[in-house]
């Protein structure tokens, strides 16, 4: 058994080493793949706050991923066509600036998470899974028929958005940016886990009635977790859209929600680096298995089954054993 902190450090080292190698070996596509994994990891770190800490099995996180994506798509679309997003009640211009887009993505997805959370948290268990799924489907069908922004065709952005001081078109620089954000989000999630809020949320997942008897409101704790979680997944959505320079309703589909959840389960639910390991492994599988056979989904399915049936706590659980007791 390897200590989890060593494994985490090794994962971080890989996240730096592989792109550096890819650069020297002139394999820019490997960097693109790594960027994809890192962006997925951010989305999953977001979901993990709701799922791992709060126990909220949300099958609707694609909503936030998609909102982040469309925040980028719409703002950049208007910027590249030199039109205003809206002129009423006040003028909103498009933009090609990543920080602004990120801010909009985070605000939008938080608001959506607040509304969806308030409504969904009236239910629990399977009903919660299903009501979040329903909200996902609503956004999906809305996006498909929203002709102004491309409907099912989606929106193409011809040039990646800019970040002050960086050339984001250079794969390695954009990767660095995403990795920095991932580290930030991980640091946040780590601090959150040990914070008073994290402690209370953790207890609210296990024994809501206890949290209630010490004078706290477990539903409000979960709601805040859901909003924070949605905001981070929204940020990832904006990055994903910028990685592809494209957004489409697929980002809202229930399969997207399922995939974000799969990253976490592959890596290990509630583990700080679970989403990161899961996203890396998933992207690698998608790439290598896809190269082996047309029917690679079969192998992916079998692998997922093995992880669920025989691997308690995902890959990290298999390698490191149960979580160590925090001090």
């Amino acid at each position: 058994m390897i200590r989890e902190s060593y494994l985490n450090a090794a994962t971080l080292a890989l996240l730096v080493a592989i792109p550096v190698w890819a650069m020297s070996a002139d394999e820019p596509f490997t960097i693109t793949l790594m960027t994809r994994a890192v962006v997925f990891a951010i989305a999953a770190v977001g979901l993990n706050i709701a799922l791992g800490l709060g126990g909220l099995v949300s099958l609707g996180h694609a909503v936030f991923f998609g909102l982040g994506g469309y925040a980028m798509g719409i703002l950049a679309h208007h910027a590249q066509t030199y039109t205003a997003v809206t002129e009423w009640p006040f003028l909103i211009e498009g933009t090609k600036s990543m920080p602004v887009i990120w801010l909009v993505a985070v605000v939008l997805s938080s608001l959506a998470a607040l509304v969806i959370g308030i409504l969904s948290l009236r239910t629990a268990g399977v009903y919660f899974i299903m009501i979040t799924l329903a909200f996902g489907q609503m956004f999906f069908f809305f996006a498909i028929s929203w002709a102004e922004y491309g409907g099912e065709d989606g929106l193409s952005i011809y040039v990646r958005n800019g970040f002050p001081g960086l050339n984001t078109l250079d794969p390695i620089q954009f990767y660095g940016l995403c990795l920095a954000l991932l580290c930030l989000v991980l640091a946040f999630a780590w601090r959150l886990g040990g914070s008073p809020f994290g402690l209370a949320l953790n207890a609210a997942r296990q024994v809501p009635v206890r949290v209630e008897t010490v004078g706290l409101d477990p539903v409000r704790l979960k709601l805040v977790a859901f909003v924070v979680s949605g905001a981070i997944t929204g940020l990832a959505g904006a990055l994903f859209a910028d990685l592809n320079r494209f957004v489409s309703p697929t980002m809202f589909s229930w399969q997207t929600s399922g995939e974000i959840m799969i990253f976490i389960i592959i890596g290990g639910v509630g583990r700080l680096f679970g989403p990161v390991v899961g996203a890396l492994v998933f992207v690698a599988l998608e790439h290598w298995l896809g190269g082996l056979s047309d029917f690679w989904h079969i192998y992916l399915g079998l692998l997922l089954l093995v992880i669920v049936l025989f691997g308690r706590g995902g890959l990290i659980g298999m390698i490191c054993g149960r979580e160590k007791v925090h001090d």
Binding site: F188, L199, V209, E323
Partner: protein
Amino acid sequence: MTDAVLQTKGITKSFGALRASRDISIDLKPGEIHAIIGPNGAGKSTLIGQICGTLKPDAGSVHLLGQDVTQEPTRSRARAGLGRTFQISALAMEDTVLQNAVLGALGAAGKPWRFFGNALKDKALRETAEEALERVGLQDQARMRTAELSHGQRRQLEVAVALTLKPKALVMDEPMAGMGSEGSKILTGFLDKLRQEAPILLVEHDMDAVFSLADRISVLVYGEVIATGTVDEIRANTAVKEAYLGDEA
């Protein structure tokens, strides 16, 4: 006569045809241990549920420190000073003993909205938590996972979490259940002293403990309080003997 810390006035609760509480009026005075006894199915859990706020009575009211809290949720009653321990331990089993105690301190301080800073390194929270653990004798187990505690130790932790709230009144649901005789003895001694700090409404099956601790006893049968009085009065009460002690009498 001093004012009651906790009081129910004629609370009534039915589940369908089953009348689980019938016009129950009991109170808890400062410094006392008031025991509730009764056979299985007498409605003890329903009564506690209404006092603590997990169930709403159909009629009647619950008063805490003179305030009508009938419509308040559990958490408001907790913040107002009502501590509770559960019959079946309700603890975060994956967390450590200390984390459970800190949770109580956190609730008492009413500050769960801090996303940064380690909860376990917060001086005020930790002191409150450690003090409570020490009082129940769990200081050496602070870093253990709660799931690894023995049954009796979990009971002690339940009490410790309740103590972190600095409660004005305690409701304890069978704290002795499943404890060895040694453990029961220690806990009995502890509760004996605790009553000066916070009066205790004690639901308990262990008659030795009840008779040695209680200042007053109420007997609940079929959702109704058939008698309230001192230990001696209850021992002498014929209605109780018939309804509750049955053949033994």
